[in-house]
């Protein structure tokens, strides 16, 4: 969706590009959009959480936020097991790499079928699939 900033947000923005997409305009204004993402679980994770898929409304969130905050908060009864299954932990704390990003343990995280960095910023309609180590054959 394209909007003209000078039509919607007044003179204060006239010095900027006069055309941005809607999310871009709101980001510029410091407004964070709530986005809805679908999360799919398989195998051991599906069994642990007791659900195959669910939706989350997240605000200005990365994949790391989803895994570290949103999902364990929604599944408090198994949040410790979740953290231990998904992340490398040291004395109960999630280990981080040099960039401060949490280290995933043996799982693949796909967004719309593609591997993404843990700092990927979630977008509305994203489908996140969390894949435990495979075991077919």
């Amino acid at each position: 969706m394209k909007i003209h900033l000078n039509e919607c947000f007044g003179k204060i923005l006239l010095s900027c590009e006069n055309t941005l997409n809607f999310d871009g305009a709101l980001f510029y204004l410091g407004v964070r959009m709530m986005v809805r993402v679908k999360v799919k679980y398989f195998g051991m994770l599906r069994e642990m959480l007791g659900v195959r898929e669910e939706e989350y409304d997240v605000k200005d969130a990365t994949l790391a936020d989803l895994l570290l905050k949103y999902i364990p908060e929604n599944h408090k009864d198994v949040s410790e097991k979740w953290m231990e299954a998904i992340f490398v932990t040291v004395r109960g704390e999630v280990a981080v790499n040099r960039d401060g990003a949490p280290i995933i343990k043996g799982h693949f995280i796909l967004v719309d079928g593609r591997s993404q960095d843990i700092n990927y910023r979630l977008k509305d309609g994203d489908e996140v699939a969390i894949l435990p180590p495979v075991g077919g054959g």
Binding site: F42, G43, G113, P132, V134, G135, G136, G137
Partner: protein, 140 residues
């Protein structure tokens, strides 16, 4: 042809064999792998059944990519892979892989690589249910 199927019910193996035989008159070898449920776990416990599940769309895409790689690498003519999902009892077939090639050598190499990559890369999971409990199997 390149047929990949993830299903609760595998097709009849003979019909798959006839299907792939008809793919080309250049075929001189068909190499087949059949995976079945073993009745003993790794610690000797009695296996009651396996329970499979898959991320189906990704599993199909990954298998198609593997077969495409094998065509480029070994020049095989065609392949069919079927993998079971759901519950499988002891002795039941769970995987059919058929590779059609001009000669046996590329067929042998391809079938090994196909199954090894299937076990490492394709998003399928299995839980082994035994008389002593159940656990998820990881192919590492």
């Amino acid at each position: 042809m390149l047929k990949v199927k993830i299903s609760e019910k595998l097709d009849d193996l003979n019909s798959l064999l006839n299907e792939i035989k008809g793919a080309s008159n250049e075929i001189g070898a068909i190499t087949i792998f059949v995976g079945a449920v073993r009745g003993l776990g790794k610690d000797g416990e009695k296996v009651l059944r396996l329970e499979y599940e898959a991320y189906e769309e990704m599993a199909i895409k990954t298998l198609e990519n593997i077969i495409s790689d094998l065509k480029s690498k070994y020049g095989i003519i065609d392949a069919i892979v079927e993998h079971k999902i759901g519950s499988a009892s002891v002795g039941e077939d769970t995987v059919y892989a058929l590779v059609a090639s001009k000669h046996r050598e590329e067929g042998f190499k391809s079938i090994i690589e196909l199954i090894e990559r299937l076990k490492r890369e394709v998003p399928i999971w299995k839980k082994e249910v035994t008389d002593k409990g159940s656990h998820w199997i990881e192919n590492i």
